[in-house]
């Protein structure tokens, strides 16, 4: 496997008035292509901050963060927007779907920025919805879908651009056990059969157990890695 995410000596701190509050300190991490990595740790350990940095939603204070060979910190705003649109898929705890759009239209959103024809967009969206098993429900709005179905729509939205990396922030945090298992099974299938690279933040040991590798953070430092 080759490294998709290469993080070295990464430091992130915030300023609270005059005092600097470190969140991540001297962090080194590699994620290989095709890996499924779970980031675990107590609240405030810095796992969500790390996910935001990998996504290009925040800038590191120091250190290097390379994804597929690109130094993320050196990209300008526009380039970063474009890079995120093309390279990153997001799955959020609360699904973050647009309530006034149907499942189909929600999945279509990232492709609205692509210079492709409507037909091509439709094919891609239909394919993504087929993967998550929701073709029959594509005209339903989020309010008409169960929590598990909404998260599957969000996964379809994350996959529709065929991104290098899917970042999932507590993807099962708002689901009951049965729906959580379905979503995790789907992510595992996409990783194993589809070769998708996943980095997932979770508190749930059952969810983390589905990952190929578990990385533990504590007080902004990497304390343990387990396969």
């Amino acid at each position: 496997m080759t490294a998709l995410v290469e993080i070295s000596s990464l430091r992130k701190s915030y300023w609270r008035g005059e005092s600097e509050v470190p969140v991540l300190a001297d962090l080194d991490l590699r994620v290989e292509r095709g890996e499924f990595v779970a980031l675990m740790g107590p609240s405030g350990s810095g796992k969500s901050t790390l996910l935001n940095l990998i996504a290009g939603l925040d800038q590191p204070t120091e250190g290097s963060l390379r994804i597929a060979g690109h130094e993320i910190g050196s990209l300008g705003d526009r380039a970063l927007d474009r890079w995120r649109n093309r390279s990153i898929g997001f799955v959020f705890q609360f699904y973050n779907l647009v309530p006034v759009l149907s499942a189909f239209e929600n999945v279509e959103v990232p492709l609205l920025l692509w210079p492709i024809s409507r037909e091509e967009r439709t094919l891609r969206v239909a394919a993504a919805l087929r993967v998550v098993g929701l073709v029959e429900r594509m005209d339903h709005r989020p309010g008409e879908l169960s929590g598990g179905e909404q998260q599957r729509v969000a996964i379809a939205r994350a996959l529709v651009t065929d991104p290098l990396l899917v970042l999932a922030d507590e993807p099962t945090g708002d689901l009951d056990e049965r729906n959580a298992d379905e979503v995790l099974a789907l992510m595992q299938l996409l990783n194993r059969a589809g070769g998708k690279t996943f980095v997932m933040v979770t508190h749930d040991p059952r969810a983390a157990a589905q990952a190929g590798r578990i990385v533990r953070l504590e007080k902004g430092r990497l304390v343990d890695e387990a396969a």
């Binding site: 969500s48 935001n52 996504a55 939603l57 925040d58 705003d77 526009r78 927007d81 474009r82 995120r84 649109n85 093309r86 997001f90 959020f92 609360f94 973050n96 647009v98 309530p99 006034v100 759009l101 239209e105 279509e108 959103v109 990232p110 492709l111 609205l112 920025l113 692509w114 210079p115 492709i116 024809s117 409507r118 967009r121 939205r157």
Partner: protein
């Protein structure tokens, strides 16, 4: 072939967002309708007033009145001045005039009678719709009157009728015999013409006029002749103030300017309030969608695109409300139902240019209203917005 990003898809998203909260959208829409109705109505009133003044002014006409403004409606100008005006080089014709203001058949109606010297007046200007037989009858009948078509219609009068224009206050009644009608399109179509010496007999003040109108041979002469006339009468008992009809109309406009500025200010204030109302509605919508906007940004929608979506929402709503309000006012004014009280038949009307200006103004109103919420939406860090923190 180069393909562009999907504008239709983003427009669909924008439309859905506008209708996201139907009650809020409806209330904002109604606010916009009322504001643009008011604005277009005020602009239509201004359009009518400016049009009337422009229509009543001739390029070769000059207009002489006593220098003292208080004497304008009171007949104070000696009629003998007319001969001297007529004798001035470059003057083609001159004619005196005075007023009688009264009521027609209906209580509260208004009839303006202008007393003129028929022979000189009819040489001074042709009246639309008045035949030579009617003109002759007018010249030959001391109690004869040419009455505007609109006054005839509103009072149910017709040619041949003997009618009474009831005086107001100390102004006596005026009995007239209608010998002809003046066409609706004529600037005198909203007034009646009678003999000035008959008015003097009824009202008193013989040998006096409220003003003298004259026609000069060429528009370029108007200013110089007006100045010479005022110089000639400067040391007379009643000094004069003479202006071209154009500048007289402009002067009336200037006198009205405080009113006009006031009306315009009210109109623009209504729009300013609308900017705040729409801005507040859009800001509420944006606050509720903090997480959604964060998600769009995470998915690659840049700041500019998000600003365009939010501003677009405000502009779309504003255009819909603006168009509806402006169309409502335009339809009302063009229907001819709006009359100025006590001004007989002065009908306020509008114009397609007024409608277009008002409707187009809704776009900057929407853009202004959307800008502040739009920029506040993209200023928040994406990672914060994703958690929906307000």
């Amino acid at each position: 072939m180069r393909r562009f990003t999907s504008g239709a898809g983003q427009l669909r998203m924008l439309l859905r967002q506008v209708l996201r909260s139907p009650r809020r959208a409806l209330l904002t829409f109604l606010g916009l309708v009322v504001a643009f109705f008011l604005f277009t109505s005020l602009e239509s009133v201004l359009y009518t007033l400016e049009g009337l003044l422009a229509q009543s002014a001739s390029e070769t006409g000059i207009f002489m009145r006593p220098r003292s403004r208080a004497s304008f409606f009171r007949a104070a100008l000696p009629i003998r001045y007319v001969e001297q005006v007529r004798d001035m080089d470059g003057v083609v014709e001159a004619s005196p005039a005075r007023f009688h203001f009264g009521a027609g058949v209906h209580e509260g109606s208004f009839v303006a009678v202008v007393g003129v010297d028929p022979p000189s007046y009819l040489r001074l200007r042709a009246l639309e719709g008045v035949s030579e037989i009617e003109a002759q009858a007018f010249r030959g009948d001391r109690r004869g009157a040419l009455v505007g078509a609109r006054i005839l219609a509103s009072n149910g009068w017709k040619v041949g009728d003997e009618v009474t224009v009831r005086g107001r206050g100390r102004v006596p009644d005026l009995s007239l015999r209608i010998v002809g009608d003046i066409g609706e399109g004529d600037r005198m179509g909203r007034a009646a013409l009678a003999h000035i010496d008959y008015l003097a007999q009824v009202m008193g003040g013989e040998g006096r006029a409220a003003f003298i109108q004259a026609r000069v041979a060429h528009p370029s002469l108007a200013l110089a002749i007006a100045r010479s006339l005022d110089e000639r009468f400067a040391n007379f008992a009643v000094p004069t103030r003479t202006r071209s009809e154009r500048s007289h109309a402009a002067g009336i406009l200037a006198n009205l300017s405080d009113v006009l500025v006031g009306l315009r200010t009210i109109g623009y204030l209504a729009l300013l309030i609308t900017v705040l109302v729409v801005g507040n509605a859009v800001a509420m919508g944006v606050r509720e969608r903090t997480m959604e906007i964060g998600t769009l940004r995470a998915l690659g929608f840049g700041r500019g695109r998000v600003v365009a979506l939010v501003v677009g929402e405000a502009m779309l709503l504003s255009l819909a409300g603006g168009l509806a309000g402006a169309l409502g006012a335009y339809a009302l004014f063009e229907s001819g139902w709006i009359e100025v009280p006590r001004m007989t038949d002065l009908r306020l009307h509008s114009d397609a240019s007024v409608l277009a200006r008002s409707a187009l103004l809704s776009l900057p109103v929407g853009a202004l209203a959307g800008l502040v919420p739009a920029f506040s939406a993209v200023r928040r860090p994406i990672s914060e917005a994703l958690h929906g923190a307000d």
